[in-house]
């Protein structure tokens, strides 16, 4: 019985010592501990798997109520005149550009009234035929919240480092599609073939 009491006594003393230690650390080093945990938390993120998402569009405010997550499948890009019919993904990193067009996260969405920027590789099945597009051709973006049609009115070739060649603005809605140019290149190229198309119809 004595030994059992001795064990309990030792456990209680140890418990109070631990509580006191936690109190001391919290009082004098609490800020540093929290900072360390925050830093660890910034690298403790779950990878988002790309998935089809429902995007909700506010017709009155003319904006998306919630932006889709990076990598999610958000729609389809159809250009019948140059046989393009490819999926559109949110984001334009390597993963999204493997088998579709990537929507630049810093640009607007169809229906929001601003510039929309889509990129795709110049490989066959993606934007290989983009340089064959003509003024007047119709480009359709079939989003989960509506269908939007754009008419091509100009094309341009610019260095990818020239950000003014890809103007992001909110005064009028137009679509910019771009790909590496020339399309039959070997190695990496600096030029981009850019297509500009203005909004001519929507069904939200």
């Amino acid at each position: 019985m004595y030994k059992f009491r001795a064990i309990i006594k030792s456990l209680i003393i140890a418990f109070f010592f631990s509580a006191f230690m936690v109190f001391i650390i919290g009082t004098f080093f609490g800020v540093q501990v929290q900072r360390g945990l925050s830093i660890l938390n910034t690298i403790s993120i779950k990878l988002n798997n790309a998935e089809n998402v429902e995007i909700h569009f506010d017709k009155i405010e003319k904006r998306l109520t919630q932006k889709p997550s990076w990598g999610s499948h958000i729609g389809r890009l159809v250009i019948p005149s140059i046989s393009v019919d490819i999926p559109i993904y949110q984001g334009d990193s390597k993963l999204q550009l493997v088998d579709g067009a990537g929507h630049h996260a810093g640009s607007y969405f169809p229906g929001e009234g601003g510039s929309i920027l889509l990129a795709a590789h110049n490989s066959r099945g993606l934007f290989y035929t983009l340089p064959q597009i003509q003024n007047g051709d119709i480009v359709t973006m079939e989003m989960t919240y509506g269908t939007f049609q754009y008419e091509v009115y100009k094309t341009n070739i610019a260095d990818y480092r020239n950000i003014e060649a890809f103007p992001i603005q909110k005064e009028e809605e137009y679509l910019m599609l771009y790909t590496c140019y020339p399309v039959d290149n070997i190695w990496y190229v600096n030029d981009r073939f850019i297509v500009f198309a203005k909004l001519v119809g929507d069904q939200v």
């Binding site: 004595y2 030994k3 001795a6 064990i7 030792s10 456990l11 003393i13 140890a14 418990f15 010592f17 631990s18 006191f20 230690m21 936690v22 945990l37 660890l40 938390n41 690298i43 403790s44 993120i45 779950k46 990878l47 390597k94 993963l95 550009l97 493997v98 590789h121 110049n122 490989s123 790909t179 590496c180 039959d184 290149n185 070997i186 190695w187 990496y188 190229v189």
Partner: protein
């Protein structure tokens, strides 16, 4: 007077407890995260294969718009090369040898495959700048998997500095605890104080593991790549397991030491 004596006793217990906790944590650090063989044991053949597949997939994605066949990277490197590079980087981090990651044979293979591909396509090389940029970008993908965001040398310096002071701290703490224990044995307080310090260390380890597990999503750590993150998660979870084993050992040892205590003699009047 008696209260002061009691307070002093508790103070002595607390000091021993802190010393034991400090020595335990330093030893755990030294023999886990700061031990090259421990970290190397986290890597297995499955990991090397996954890294090989991941790197080749990343290289293929990066090559899509270049016009070069993706077959140039098919036999560029194997899982054995990944293993060799991993061991080299761990050696850079933990051994004081200041060597660099050697990827020359892999780069040579890539160049030879590109030349073969160009020959098959009947292209003649006129743009050497583009060629070199392409080779560099593919090799950067390979090296990026191992060089920890190009901070390898900084991390290596940090590890050597920590190890230097860690060894010294372990020796000093060890000597202090040894002297303390000898004094306790002479004062016949050994079986009274040591269990408390063991229980104290156990409680704090349990609390720290629980607190950090709740506050930080260790299971979701993602850095550089999924395969690298998997290794980090493995290191953290096995280190926690080692700590929990220590907790059990300390608790059992503490209870055993108390059982060895002699009971108080009851004086019959």
């Amino acid at each position: 007077m008696r209260k002061i004596k009691l307070l002093f006793q508790y103070f002595e217990m607390f000091v021993l407890s802190v010393l034991v906790l400090g020595l335990t944590l330093l030893c755990v650090l030294k023999f886990t995260i700061l031990d090259k063989n421990y970290v190397l044991s986290m890597y297995d053949e499955k990991h090397y294969k996954e890294v090989e597949e991941f790197l080749k997939s990343e290289m293929q994605k990066s090559m899509i718009s270049t016009g070069i066949s993706s077959s140039v990277i098919d036999d560029m490197f194997t899982a054995s090369d990944v293993k060799k590079s991993t061991e080299e980087v761990l050696s850079i981090l933990y051994d004081d040898n200041k060597q660099k990651l050697d990827v020359s044979s892999i780069e040579e293979k890539l160049r030879s495959n590109i030349d073969k591909d160009l020959k098959e396509k009947q292209f003649t090389l006129s743009d050497t700048e583009g060629y070199e940029e392409f080779v560099k970008s593919i090799m950067d993908i390979y090296k990026g998997e191992f060089l920890i965001l190009n901070q390898t040398m900084k991390i290596s310096k940090g590890i050597h500095l920590v190890n230097k002071y860690l060894n010294l701290a372990i020796i000093i703490l060890g000597i202090l605890i040894l002297i303390y224990l000898v004094i306790l044995i002479l004062r016949k307080k050994f079986l009274q104080y040591v269990p408390v310090s063991l229980f104290f260390t156990s409680f704090l380890i349990i609390f720290s593991i629980y607190y950090s597990d709740v506050k930080v999503g260790f299971r979701n750590i993602t850095i550089i790549s999924e395969s690298f993150s998997e290794i980090i998660r493995k290191i953290i979870s096995t280190t926690f397991q080692v700590c929990l084993i220590l907790v059990v050992v300390y608790l059992i040892l503490g209870i055993i030491l108390i059982l060895f205590q002699r009971g108080k003699k009851k004086v019959k009047s």
